[in-house]
Subunit: 354 residues, 2 copies
């Protein structure tokens, strides 16, 4: 799912997303609560109406943002007090309050409020954050059920839990098992892609995913580089969100089947081929590498728009291919071939957070 | 015609423009010759292919930019030597060279290379610039005919002359008459909207337009605020180009039938109405003022895109209404009613140059 932190996938309209076959987008409760305000969004008809996207929306709870972006004032068992990164105003998030905020925003899937440990984190505080996340998830489930019973929207909102536990297999397994007891309709893996590096991320997935209910969607939060998506699907992940396609697009990096390339590359100056000759998106069927390069060299805003469009198309095509390979029981061969080709071009490691 | 100085109407795709009913776009020979290079554009199939726009394109000659944007090194009877505003490199434009550059770019309409006097300008240098513009237009016509005979493109490029003469009626009339002798397929009025103010601009149009051949398109360059377009149509102008809709859109100003408004207006915070309730563009039929305001307050790139889209739609609708009123011989009543309503909201004067 492309990320629309502030109720907009940067540079793209919902019409663009629908044309690309996007099935769901992510928005962020922390950001939207601070601006324009979750109650403002509710009065304007909820996120679907506000941003003009009729498809499913998932709101992240803001746990990650409260711990990484806001100026943290205090954390206690009941919740978190923090200052807005926008204007320094003081706010209080508790599991119950976050459920109210996400109810006001009106997404289809709402994430539980979690205590997201930074990386690196010693095992003892990582355990404390994991256990608090489990207790908060229980409180979220109770509050969510109460709020849903009051039916704020004509559709039912579904609560997903977030597995934490840093990179400690024992903590991840325990987190997954404790959340599973809540019998939620879906589960996410949080606290990865925060600087631990790809090998450790994949190792952690390998111990975590098998503990998550196989009959519920398993969402890996904040991961979306193509090679990571393929590796995570191989480890059982079903859903992804990440700013990568749009952030990379804004900064001039194009995903192609032969790896990631910088479109300002001098070699593109007179290159009349599409960014990715096998891509069927509107960008690749209309414009040349030379034109996209010209837009970036000229600092034209159409450049980031077109490259974001292409990169989202690329990921949608990628997961569509992966899904077909899974269904036809040829995933391993497909993934090996795909990854070998993509990683011929070495790409620097970049962490991916919204 | 929306302005695509660097072969892109800022923020919008050719598909967007076609959807809005745009019939022609402007690009700029000065900018495109410096970057990516007119011969590069030629090798990539010309501007239509390069920017993915199948409709008509007009290239401005760069006369205005050479005199206003570049670091002028020297002007003589033969041409102009200047340094690029991008990298300080030295270039030489003569009428013949500009015809070659515009032939390489491959637009449908190419403007003659003119000597564009700054404002204010004493009458004597204004006369000298006007006379030089007339002599250069003759040289352009000769060079253009020679180049067209070599058929660089499968389509025929048409040369338009540019009337100069600052704000001196006598010079404007003489310029228009001298250019008319060249029997060109169209004529433009240059050197207006450069700081002379609206009353003087309109007075100058009133003395200039009647001297221009009535059976050829009359193009007012660099003018595109809605109220100015209506006033200029009333004075016989047929074609316009201006960065106003996209530049205003990027900076948060929306054209509406009730005047220009700043979308960051606090009154829009919870306003669920469209920017202009009578507008049928995709922006007005999809999003609220509150959402567009949110995009600008959040510095989201979708904001400038949507507002540019709406503003272009607004001008296309405006000229379409004006055209119908002209055809049905009710233009004066329509223009009075339209202008009264639009100018209820006072708008600051802004000059409009690409």
């Amino acid at each position: 799912m492309p990320v629309g932190t502030q109720a907009t996938v940067k540079g793209l309209t919902p019409g663009d997303l629908a044309e690309l076959g996007v099935g769901i987008v992510l928005a962020n409760a922390y950001h939207l609560h601070l601006r324009p305000g979750s109650e403002v969004v509710r009065r304007l008809g909820g996120l679907h109406s506000f941003m003009g996207w009729e498809g499913p929306i998932l709101t992240d709870s803001g746990g990650f943002q409260v711990f990484s972006l806001a100026h943290l004032a205090a954390i206690d068992e009941d919740g978190v007090t923090f200052r807005s990164h926008l204007d320094g105003s003081l706010h209080r998030f508790t599991p119950e309050r976050v459920m109210e905020i996400e109810a006001a925003l009106g997404a289809d899937i709402v994430m539980a409020f979690d205590d997201c440990a930074a990386f690196p984190c010693e095992k003892s505080p990582a355990r404390a954050a994991m256990e608090r996340t489990a207790r908060w998830a229980e409180r979220c489930a109770v509050a969510h059920a109460r709020i849903q019973a009051e039916e704020p929207w004509p559709w039912r909102q579904r609560l997903y839990g977030i597995v934490q536990g840093s990179v400690y297999p024992e903590l991840r397994r325990e987190s997954a098992r404790r959340l599973a007891e809540l019998d939620l309709p879906g589960y996410a893996i949080g606290g990865l892609s925060v600087g631990e590096g790809k090998p450790l991320m994949l190792e952690t997935l390998e111990v975590t995913v098998p503990e998550m209910p196989a009959d519920r969607p398993r969402h890996l939060m904040g991961v979306g580089f193509p090679e990571d998506v393929v590796a995570a699907i191989a480890r059982g992940v079903d859903l992804f969100d990440c700013v990568a396609p749009t952030r990379q697009g804004r900064t001039g990096a194009a995903f192609t089947r032969d790896g990631r390339v910088n479109v300002e590359n001098a070699g593109f100056t007179e290159d009349d081929r599409p960014l990715d000759p096998e891509c069927t998106c509107a960008v690749c069927t209309t414009w040349s590498r030379a034109y996209v390069r010209h837009l970036f060299k000229s600092r034209e805003m159409l450049g980031p728009r077109l490259l974001s469009h292409h990169n989202v198309a690329f990921l949608i095509d990628l997961v569509s291919e992966a899904r077909a390979a899974v269904e036809e029981r040829r995933f391993e061969a497909w993934a090996t071939r795909w990854t070998d080709r993509y990683t011929q071009t070495p790409a620097p490691e970049v962490s991916c957070t919204s």
